[in-house]
Symmetry: C2
């Protein structure tokens, strides 16, 4: 199923075989169609999208990333365009507009009914990474003093328009937050029971201005299907649903992973990204890193005499700096991830530093013995000894700064993931060389 359709699809698109395309669409799931739309260029994507019937078109559309949604929409004529954006979920729409150029955003808002426009504008009022952008305002709230039976009646009456009916905010007469009640409990409890008795009043909640990634992690920690969102006066504004939280976390992981390799994260499908886009996302850091790397040139220049007198030392430069870099990268990656999932906090910095220092020492000692053997075999003992000793120091040093830097970054409010493996590696290269040559000078009594 993976290999066949896509290849055929490409052909069908190229020779514009409408009947064949319709057949292909009928045979595939919305998420499979969405994937192909994301991979295709704008023209092909629109051609394919146009062939979908209204309802499927919307389902497929909602599976797309904002970038790809933008790609498809831009190619649609006004009526089709308006139809899609009008029927999108408010929160998805806000997300789409948040990342789209202003001109496009205006076209979307213009296409909306007054009511939808108001809802969307409200969400767009929140900062980019705020919960408000991601929450659904279309919820079914119930008053705390009505009965389970009455609450179910409310669900039946208003449920159709809501994005979820599994978690209902429980509110007082001024929409003040009281708690949440799950549809399951409403169904399972005696009809005359008061909502307040079945409601969960200790449920975690967030404010619309809170950071959405933290909110999503909170949902994950507390295993709730939806997180109530309130304003500063504790009035209920909407719900953050688990599928949105799921996407937020995945996007955050993708970003962190990109940053960990010193690339600037970009939204959108890898296969639809152009060479220029890919290059741009990586250029800045490579540039900064090569400038930082000129440090290593200076260091080596400083020790040029030592290098000249014992050329053999040069042979081990890549091995030494490479190994140190790897040890540092491992520590940095572990620390960044531990911070991201909330296992490590800024105030753990000393504890972490001390542990990683010992880890680096243990690893360095192990690698040193290997280097001593190999080095003695390939070159001679004295050089091998300098390499071995340096490895111990460099690994301990690399692991320590590798783990400490992300924590310090977090403390000063920088995304810890910015402390990428390449960044740590580059820094370790320069410092590692200094250590190496100082050790060598000592060993050779220079």
């Amino acid at each position: 199923m993976t290999a066949q359709p896509a290849r055929t699809l490409r052909d069908l698109l190229d020779d514009n075989d409408i009947a064949g395309l319709q057949e292909w669409l009928a045979e595939h799931q919305p998420y499979e169609i969405a994937d192909e739309l994301a991979r295709a260029d704008a023209v092909r994507a629109v051609l394919l999208f146009r062939l979908l019937d209204k309802d499927r078109a919307l389902t497929v559309f909602e599976e797309l990333d904002p970038t790809d949604q933008h790609k498809v929409l831009s190619g649609l004529r006004d009526h089709a365009f308006r139809d899609v954006v009008e029927r999108m979920n408010t929160d998805d729409r806000a997300r789409l507009l948040g990342e789209a150029p202003a001109k496009f955003a205006r076209r979307v808002l213009a296409g909306l009914s007054p009511n939808e426009r108001a809802l969307t504008a409200a969400l767009l009022g929140y900062p980019e990474h705020a919960v408000g952008r991601y929450m659904t305002p279309e919820t079914v709230a119930v008053r705390y003093y009505i009965t389970a039976e009455e609450a179910l009646a409310v669900v039946r009456a208003k449920g159709r328009r809501a994005e979820t009916v599994y978690t209902l905010p429980v509110v007082d007469d001024r929409r003040g937050f009281v708690g949440t009640v799950s549809l399951g409990d409403l169904v399972l409890s005696p009809p005359d029971r008061q909502v307040l008795d079945i409601a969960d009043t200790k449920t975690p909640k967030v404010q619309a201005t809170d950071d959405v990634e933290e909110a999503a992690r909170l949902m994950q920690d507390t295993n709730v299907l939806a997180l109530p969102v309130t304003d500063s006066e504790n009035r209920v504004l909407g719900l953050l649903t688990i599928d949105d939280a799921f996407e937020v976390i995945e996007a955050a992981d993708t970003e962190d992973i990109a940053r960990q390799s010193a690339a600037t994260p970009w939204t959108g499908h890898y296969m639809s990204a152009s060479v220029v886009q890919l290059a741009r996302s990586r250029a800045l850091w490579l540039l900064l890193l090569i400038l930082a790397a000129t440090l290593t040139v200076n260091v080596l220049q400083f020790f040029e005499d030592t290098l000249a007198s014992v050329t053999a030392l040069a042979l081990f430069i890549p091995l030494l700096v490479g190994t140190g870099g790897n040890a540092g990268a491992q520590a940095a990656t572990a620390a960044v991830r531990a911070i991201a999932v909330g296992e490590v906090r800024s105030r753990d910095v000393l504890k972490v530093a001390w542990r990683e220092c010992r880890v680096g020492f243990v690893l360095g000692a192990m690698l040193a013995t290997v280097a001593l053997l190999v080095g003695t075999l390939i070159v001679d003992f004295t050089v091998a000894a300098s390499v071995a000793v340096s490895l111990v120091v460099v690994c301990a040093w690399a692991a320590t700064i590798g783990s400490v830097m992300p924590l310090l970054a977090k403390r000063v409010g920088i995304d810890p993931a910015v402390i990428s493996a390449p960044l740590v590696t580059t820094l370790v290269d320069a410092t590692g060389l200094i250590i190496y040559f100082l050790v060598a000078q000592f060993v050779f009594g220079l």
Copy 2:
């Protein structure tokens, strides 16, 4: 809230202040308590856990990773021990046993009621990463021919024991899979409506033996709250719920990230991992990589005369290999992630290689100009020129193999994430040096 309690907690635990501890427990959410349990050593963790009342104890316990669950359980006396394991969700229990030593597993199974033991044993029958290990067998299935009202009655009758009642498998008389119906639709549709009319018969489903990560990604792609799980005869066995899928994906991401830094992933809390555990998780790869790095020594030995005649070439070795390594790491990381989230498939290998080759070329050209300037300033033009030319070739080469290797790994059935940034870097180091010296020999006419 972040800074204060934990520090106090440590003190409370140290001077065994029961009253104080109980107060602390009362003030904190289950997931916060779980986090502290994960960070504490076994003795402290058990002391704290014992102070929780039955119901909270279970909630907290279910927030823990298997490793930490094991840590806590091992310290409990038989009756408390039995009470916890008996009341765990079947799928959580199976996961706990899957990762625990046999002796411990036997103790758990011995503590179970015959019914729970049977359910657990059934799940344990599935391979480690199979959906069967993670699904909940405790579901409420409804026959396709009954009415919505009757279905709701079934939910009321059996719902209490089920892990979720939001997605109900719709089955025929021999438990054959027909589709799923959501509690929401049951509530919202007219009571006399037949279940089959409201059921979603096109919903995606998986088999209990399928890979759980793929199943979880499928849930994410299709935005379903629960995925029906069947056996090879299409009979319904249970449901994979979204909170479990969420955990599976997060665990997979954590694993991939660890692998990307050439560390062996381990389960459990970063702060509770010992120096030895951390070292062990990183040692193997560092060892392999340093052995691979001896290649660079040989390469340099081979070019030792060139190096001796133009010592200045040595100055740029770390900069050159470092930059090449970074370019390769970026490409590898991007490819691994794209594969993980299903954006790239093995058959895209040529398309990817060609794109990344051009990306590397563009980046290399950019960096070369910088190197040419800096190099000419620091040393001289000829050396700088060799470095610049090498950079272009090395970056193109690094980006290409960095992106291709994960795809090839996948094709031959190896986890693409094993193609870690350090691995790519190390390979690029050796090959990059060869390119560098060949270019240099040409430039200097040696």
